[in-house]
Symmetry: C2
Subunit: 366 residues, 2 copies
């Protein structure tokens, strides 16, 4: 158990942007929401998963809809109370703690804001260990958890609870209400007990985000390493490519951002071409047409000078980036995990081969 204050939020936001693997939305807006909640209500108590009783009611908090809309709509500050009361009333007992659903962008920040506003603890655990685009893509699905009862509230005070026969229907109905509410709402889904969280969750994800963020901020302070060496060493990442953005193709289909960024090699990669394909999050990284990493491993683009993560919506011609691969949470590498988030689910016609194996043989510098 420890406290999350404003400096911790800054670091968590930066680290979560890396774990967003290109997606999750800009954490900046979320960071403002979390900081203003902590300023108003005081720091948040962060619980280690093992500190949570097996029968405690835990409620992941996230937003649904467009983060850009979140910026334009007022942040009521009251949504989380309505969410808390709706869920507590539905289950007939109080929510014990909030938790994040994913690491990355806005959704790493809003659970902190919710915990601060309600004076509830936050559990250091999520269901992805990164960001993914669809709501069934959580480790708890492997554990047999249902996304519903899911609660949805807007900044006006309207609330909705869904129970659906499949998580696909959850997505359909919640999306319809999100649009009717103006395009951005606060949600809680996969309500679960402490046992499910401990058995299937990604433990320590908030602390990991914070550690990564803090280290990225101090990457140039390393005495005996280049900043890049320091970055790769603290992240445990594999350098896959370094290049200048030569082309970015984007397409919006079915509510997702699809696209591909083409990189012209720089430094030791001069003369080579790299490419990263994405669907909200980065899906594949290749050099000269050869795959070096695929989902569910994390493929992250970072600025070559500052090592600040570059999300897919900030990709611009001429920007110099390093492509880094990070191994995913081990549960994603099981057959059940790969069925949910493996390359074939996303339409990439290849078997999943762990990043570490693909990068054997000197193609990547560790």
């Amino acid at each position: 158990m420890r406290k999350i204050g404003i400096q911790e939020i800054e670091d968590i936001a930066l680290g979560a942007a890396l774990l967003g693997a290109g997606g999750g939305g800009d954490p900046y807006i979320g960071k403002l929401v979390a900081i203003s909640a902590v300023q108003a209500c005081g720091p948040v108590t962060l619980l280690d998963p093992e500190e949570v009783p097996d029968d405690a009611l835990l409620v992941p908090i996230a937003m649904m809809g467009a983060p850009t809309v979140l910026m334009e709509k007022a942040t009521g500050g009251d949504e989380y109370r309505v969410l808390y009361e709706t869920v507590s009333a539905f289950f007939g007992r109080p929510v014990f703690a909030f938790m994040p659903m994913e690491a990355g962008g806005v959704n790493s920040m809003l659970p902190i804001a919710a915990a601060a506003r309600l004076g509830l603890p936050l559990v250091d655990c999520d269901g992805m260990g990164r960001a993914f685009p669809e709501l069934q893509m959580v480790t708890f699905t492997i554990g047999g958890a249902s996304a519903t009862p899911m609660a949805l509230v807007d900044e006006k005070g309207n609330s909705t609870i869904f129970r659906t026969v499949t998580n696909k229907w959850t997505e359909e109905l919640a999306r319809a209400v999100t649009m009717a509410c103006g395009g951005s709402v606060s949600i809680s889904l996969y309500p679960m007990d402490g046992k499910m969280m401990k058995s299937y969750g990604v433990h320590g994800i908030i602390t990991r985000s914070e550690t990564l963020g803090s280290a990225i901020r101090r990457v140039k302070e390393a005495a005996d390493q280049t900043p890049e060496e320091a970055f790769l060493s603290i992240t445990g990442g594999f350098r896959l490519f370094r290049g200048k953005i030569g082309d970015v193709r984007r397409e919006v289909r079915g509510g997702f951002n699809f696209g591909k960024v083409v990189l012209e090699g720089i430094g030791e990669y001069r003369g080579k071409t790299g490419a990263v394909e994405f669907q909200n999050e980065n899906l594949t990284a290749s050099v000269e047409g050869e795959l070096l990493a695929t989902t569910p491993d994390l493929i992250c683009l970072v600025d070559t000078e500052t090592f600040i993560p570059v999300p897919t919506d900030a990709l611009k011609y001429g920007k110099r980036v390093m492509v880094v691969g990070l191994p995913c949470f081990p549960l994603w590498r099981t057959p059940e995990g790969l069925a949910l988030v493996g390359p074939r689910y996303f339409g990439v016609d290849t078997d999943y081969i762990p990043l570490e194996e693909r990068c054997k043989g000197g193609r990547a510098n560790v």
Copy 2:
């Protein structure tokens, strides 16, 4: 307390079609749903309002969306159980009885089906005493009741509960989910206690529908009256006009059926022109441009031979109809009632004058 079986359903459907005042949808589909539920599960117990305890949890049942879609989608038979369980779980106590929200069409029938399927009693009371097009147009609104928590289920087993800050938002969100679910769903709204039902509801509305239906069926059996005299006497109706349909104009705007039917007088009305304007339900009746009846009084068109009600969607050129006015439930004539369902709410630029007063001076034959 008495039982509702198949013959009662036939009569209720016929009477409710009259009380639908042109709207409410074709009761035929609803009748099939109710009859098949009673065939499968036995007759329904109908409770007099006074037999319901003040603190009993009562749940009005209705459908939302297009009745034509209801015909095309399977009638699961399981929706009402899901609705019952959803509402009972939400309130933390079992639903005591179902009730209808409106008299007219499909929504007079589905509560019977729900009560049969669940083995729950049905209360002989609704919130309109006729049909109206919008969900806040219930007497319980005058009593300060909220439409929410509102439950919505589809035939697949998906369920949603809404709590909204206004009934306008209930409409918005429920409409969005209804569309996402395929255009036709079962709903419960205005959950209330026995006290609210007794204080503001339209008592005995199911019995009234049944009495009207039974009498319409036997209108030609009267010994000392013409069928028309018998019809007017049993309904307490005012004959406003009799004519042949010369023109029907229809327009669909904002999900409502707007329109006007023009009638060429027959019999003693020969040479005169009558007109009925509608928004789902009939709003005004006039002869030679002079208003004879307006909402919230009931304006009904019936076949001149059979006295079977003719809903707005069955209006056809050449059909001979009688226009009949029926006085509305007294609460609708209060300032609060007229604010909800008076002519000005529907954009008709006239004060409300009760049907009986407009028809003084020999314009109508009683």
